[in-house]
Symmetry: C2
DNA sequence: TTGTATTTGTTAGCAAAGCTAACGAAAGGC
DNA sequence: GCCTTTCGTTAGCTTTGCTAACAAATACAA
């Protein structure tokens, strides 16, 4: 398992190779895990882009449409339509910006929050069921890895939250 | 958050709560990390669905169009079009199935393989750079977590590989 | 061997999601 | 008071996703 250890100094070729190997393994594992969990999203009745955008709104509080588009790595016109669809479904609502009349703030409605939390529970329930087969030590490894992954995601870019994948 | 069932092996409420917490943290971390890495994909010149499908073809060897569609969680007609586009770009090629005349096997061309490996290198290079700030012990945690996550993804479903997210 | 059923991929046609370009409204600078 | 910038929307296109229908090949029963 853990061979990513002290076999080289900070910048040695051996250490570089170890980091590359861990990076590849971690990337692949994250892709496969989310791909598996994504199958649970059908039950929400929302498409993946809408579900992901709703997730950002619910967990990221009210935010401007532009910020939401950036968080979803999508252009403003695309987000305009997604928000309009979510608004038509009563899951979010638009508000004029209090200080700046140009911006529109997007806020989750109680119905939107409820829908999203149920969906997230479906994903995490599947994952938690899988965790039932692991030992306490293994759970601990995953918990610590999660913290490290969050730090890596934050590391060199301004990322934002989302359920989708 | 809702409490999921006690379907796990060790059924104490405390253990369930711990698993739920780890599941939520791991899910969120994976989402955020891949969201960050996805920003590197623009340089490939391919759309996300095409890049992801090409990834499965490159790493998953020649496979039938139906298997590719299942791996990408997409219907056959959708995959027909994606493969046609990749074929028009010279990145994959169709072959008749050697034993079964109904199936078409999809194989990556050298150009497709090259393009994809360069793209994967971009993602993992960004990730590896972030790993440079970690200690050997932390790298070890991530390596072990990656193995556990792969097992979890395989756990109760037949998932398949892909770059996209 | 013939005839029917099933499987596999494609085509046709529709809705949703992505983009760029162009535009109106609001802030900000001079 | 203009001019510029910023923000969101609208317009129009391409890509991606779906279901329904279909043709070809295989599998199987009689």
């Amino acid at each position: 398992m853990g061979e990513a250890s002290e076999t080289g100094g900070a910048g040695s070729p051996a250490a570089d190779a170890g980091r590359e190997a861990v990076a590849g393994a971690l990337h692949s594992a994250a892709v496969h895990l989310l791909r598996r969990l994504r199958r649970e999203d059908d039950a929400s009745g929302l498409s993946a882009p809408r579900l992901s955008a709703l997730s950002v709104v619910v967990f990221g509080g009210p935010l401007t449409l532009g910020a939401l588009a950036a968080a979803e790595q999508v252009r403003p016109p695309t987000m305009t339509r997604i928000v309009s669809a979510l608004e038509a479904d009563g899951l979010v609502q638009r508000e004029p910006g209090p200080r700046d009349g140009r911006v529109t703030l997007v806020r989750a409605t109680p119905a939107g929050t409820r829908l999203l939390l149920e969906g997230r529970d479906r994903r995490t329930a599947v994952l938690a069921a899988g965790l039932g087969a692991l030992t306490g030590a293994e759970l601990d490894v995953l918990a610590r890895a999660a913290a490290l992954m969050e730090a890596l995601a934050r590391g060199s870019g301004r990322g934002a939250a989302g359920t989708g994948g």
